[in-house]
């Protein structure tokens, strides 16, 4: 068991999501930074899709009731265990009674706590993710609260973890060639023009040219962007149609909305563009107030980024296994 000692609002249990039920109005949910969850789970020896704790309001602290392997991935802050600073993107062993604390990270938005054996939570429609709007999944369908106790699955891998820990070169560093750094403080987010792009004519070009700011009216459902409004050349009445995370809609006010992990399943606003799936985690790590710019991408570029990410994850999976075995054999 782990016990939540302190938490801000809207911290939830998430895995890689619940795809496949949009047709019956169920959002996919899942971590806002799925890459961090995959790597955290690999480090602690879990299946990549094991449930983790998504922390988006800080501080959060929890107590481990038994000996356990854990890793904190995602945001850039360093976690503390019983007051001792650790590094993120590193698996450690916690002893019973030790308290893990996550403070506000310096720049990024979301941290993930993975534990060996995963959070032992009932699977609903193929996922352990919390659906806040549907009030199901995860920790009783709601955010974590002080005093919550969460069961942990069996961990057969704990004996394999090297005593000093096992760390990884974080994706932002390892993949810096395919994920360009912010330019003049604006995070480049790649997107493809979507169905109604041409309705925006000149304003469509302004969409790509300007720097947008993530407004305070943003959450796991969607990011509302602030900037110079963009308008279609004619107002269009559209029937509601399917929407997925990454879709950028433009409501009548002219300030775009990017659908995120808890995306609506349908909507009727015109779609100007869609963020490529591989860039969604970077958006998930962008905080309210952060500035971003959309960069026109292509399907082949999106595919190339996807392949680079897959190679990185494969390398982390295989090398971590190899290193653990080699060190075990030398003991």
């Amino acid at each position: 068991m782990i016990e939540i000692v302190e938490t801000g609002p809207f911290n939830t249990v998430q895995d890689l999501g619940r795809p496949g039920y949009r047709d019956i109005g169920v959002s996919a949910s899942g971590a806002m930074d799925p890459l961090a969850v995959r790597i955290g789970n690999i480090l602690v020896g879990n299946d990549e899709n094991a449930a983790a704790i998504e922390v988006q309001t800080f501080p959060l602290s929890l107590r481990f009731e038994r000996r356990i392997v854990f890793a904190v991935t995602g945001a850039d802050g360093n976690p503390h265990l019983d007051g001792t600073e650790l590094i993120s993107w590193c698996a450690y062993i916690a002893e019973p009674g030790q308290v893990l604390e996550l403070k506000q990270p310096p720049r990024l938005a979301r941290s993930y706590i993975s534990v060996g054996g995963g959070l032992d939570i009932p699977v609903v429609m193929g996922s352990r993710s919390t659906s806040l709007r549907g009030s199901f999944g995860g920790n009783s369908g709601r955010s974590l609260a002080k005093g919550d106790r969460i069961a942990i699955g069996e961990d057969a891998e704990i004996v394999m973890l090297p005593a000093p820990g096992l760390a990884v070169v974080a994706p932002a560093v390892a993949l810096r060639k395919v994920f360009p750094a912010p330019v003049d403080g604006a995070l480049p987010i790649r997107a493809l023009p979507a169905g109604e792009h041409d309705l925006f004519a000149g304003d469509g070009e302004a969409f790509w040219r300007q720097t947008w700011r993530i407004s305070s009216r943003s959450d796991r459902t969607g990011y509302r962007l602030s900037g110079e409004p963009i308008k279609p050349t004619a107002s269009v009445e559209m029937r509601s149609h399917g929407v997925v995370p990454g879709v950028i809609q433009v409501p009548p006010g002219g300030e775009p909305i990017v659908q995120m992990s808890d995306a609506n399943t349908a909507g009727g606003y015109p779609k100007i563009a869609g963020v490529i799936e591989c860039d969604l985690w970077r958006l998930g790590q962008a905080r309210i107030g952060a500035r971003l710019r959309f960069v026109r991408s292509t399907h082949s570029e999106a595919r190339a980024v996807e392949q680079a990410v897959a190679r990185y994850v494969d390398d982390v999976r295989q090398t971590s296994r190899m290193v653990k075995r080699a060190l075990k054999a030398m003991k």
Binding site: P164, L166, A167, V169, A170, M322, A329, M330
Partner: protein, 141 residues
């Protein structure tokens, strides 16, 4: 005396092969700088352990952190945006004094002792072998 480096993986591999070929169960070498023990297991696979003795320089004692396996020696976490850590600096036993990198995996190197990290014994970024000395920690007298 010869100056064979018994912490060199190639030397260990060569010795292990030689022992296996000769049908010898194991070998133990003790020298002032450390100890190497190779035990040839019955059904393939040898067990190797090496331990460093603390070398004594006149007037001060120091400990050496060695590479737990072959890889690339990294002094800092690649994601660290912090300023480079200067030497000498105080470390406590649980502090991470560097990493051995294998692909994208990083093995943290713990100081193991409290003292003053005085110098690096390997070039940052260099490929190091199992048992190679990486950093020196001067122990409080």
């Amino acid at each position: 005396m010869s100056s064979i480096d018994f912490s060199d993986p190639a030397t260990i591999a060569f010795l292990t092969d030689a022992l296996t070929a000769a049908g010898v169960d194991g070998l133990e070498i003790s020298r002032p700088g450390g100890q190497l023990r190779i035990v040839v297991a019955g059904n393939g696979g040898a067990r190797i352990s090496s331990a460093e003795a603390t070398p004594h320089a006149p007037g001060s004692a120091s400990a050496v952190v060695k590479a737990p396996m072959a890889g690339r020696f990294c002094v800092e976490h690649p994601a660290a945006s912090a300023e480079p850590q200067n030497l000498p600096r105080s470390v406590s036993d649980a502090d991470i004094v560097g990493f051995v990198g294998v692909g994208h995996i990083l093995l943290p190197l713990r100081a193991g002792r409290s003292g003053v990290l005085t110098r690096l014994l390997a070039e940052p970024g260099a490929l190091v072998g199992f048992g190679d000395p990486l950093v020196e920690i001067e122990l409080p007298s």
